[in-house]
């Protein structure tokens, strides 16, 4: 039950925040433009965070860095992405590669 509460808190807060973020331009500020530096910085948030997520989820352990079969999954994902495969193929490739190594 505790976990469901946490999930709903995340969904509710993030949902409300996203609705506001998308609406603030058209509803409130209509037509005004963001300074170029701010616009540039906002756009760079995605690559910085996505890369960090990959690194932490693949190499992160309990307060330390760990090398394990997740690296194989990452390799498969990188190969599939380099081949411009659709997202679902990249995901399945990573999952299958990791599962195979785990089964060995």
């Amino acid at each position: 039950m505790e976990e469901t509460m946490t999930a709903w808190i995340v969904i509710g807060t993030l949902g409300a925040a996203t609705i506001l973020l998308k609406a603030v331009g058209p509803v409130v500020l209509g037509g005004r433009e963001l300074p170029e530096r701010i616009s540039r910085i906002l756009t760079l948030l995605a690559p910085a965070l996505l890369a960090a997520l990959i690194a932490v989820l693949v190499l992160g352990g309990d307060r330390r860095l760990v090398l394990d079969e997740r690296l194989v999954g990452l390799g498969a994902a990188l190969a599939a992405a380099a081949l411009r495969a659709p997202i679902i193929v990249v995901v399945v490739a990573a999952a299958v590669a990791t599962a195979l190594v785990r089964a060995l």
């Binding site: 925040a17 331009g25 760079l44 307060r63 997740r70 498969a76 994902a77 599962a99």
Partner: protein, 206 residues
């Protein structure tokens, strides 16, 4: 449009499956997809929950990954006309793909195209997210199936096209360096949020 529809459906199915593996149910996945309507933010938040990173980090990561939609919203604002309720609803259809499909040369946005593409993508996204939850419960044990490797794979697929831009590449490398250096010393979730400082590579004009 078909070129966007299939990947969106596949992406949504993946989200539903991973949400299920994290312990979310169909209603939660559906509501999340209906309100956040953004793959990167949704996957980031759910993956942080899955890794026991805490609600605060999950929310913050999701918000940071959605901040560019505020910038996009300002860009398309002149194209979304009409009463307030209509601008509010139509602004919710902003997502990377609907924006990309409706942006012409010189950066001009076609409001009708954005709304049209947005409606199709939104419907596909929410529906496939819910279906993904049901599909996942047919599959079995997530870790044995390597589904925990699926989250990083999603982020690889999302990040790869962006790396052609040198600044984006620099921001991602800096983000990785910050995050990994903090893993041994910071509570879960913090390394990822701190990585957003990687945007500082964009401080100076190109």
């Amino acid at each position: 449009m078909a070129g966007l529809a299939l990947p969106a459906a596949g992406f949504g199915l993946s989200f539903g499956a991973l949400a299920d593996a994290t312990g979310l149910d169909a209603v939660q996945a559906g509501v999340m997809s209906a309100t956040v309507f953004g793959g990167a933010a949704q996957f980031a938040a759910v993956s942080i929950l899955e890794a026991a990173g805490g609600a605060a980090a999950a929310i913050t990561a999701g918000i940071l990954l959605s901040m560019r939609y505020a910038a996009i919203g300002l860009t398309v604002a002149p194209e979304l006309r009409g009463p307030l309720w209509r601008r509010l609803l139509e602004s919710q259809l902003i997502v990377d793909e609907s924006w990309a499909v409706s942006t012409g040369p010189g950066g001009r946005v076609d409001g009708r195209k954005l709304v049209g593409a947005g409606l199709v993508l939104y419907t596909l996204w929410v529906t496939s997210s819910v279906l993904g939850v049901f599909g996942a419960s047919l599959i079995g044990d997530p870790e044995r199936l390597g589904l925990d490797a699926a989250f990083p794979a999603v982020f690889v697929a999302l990040l790869a096209p962006q790396l052609r831009d040198r600044r984006a590449l620099a921001a991602s490398l800096l983000g990785v360096a910050i995050a990994l250096s903090l893993v041994p010393i910071a509570p879960p979730g913090v390394p990822i949020i701190a990585a957003s400082a990687g945007v500082l590579v964009g401080w100076r004009k190109p």
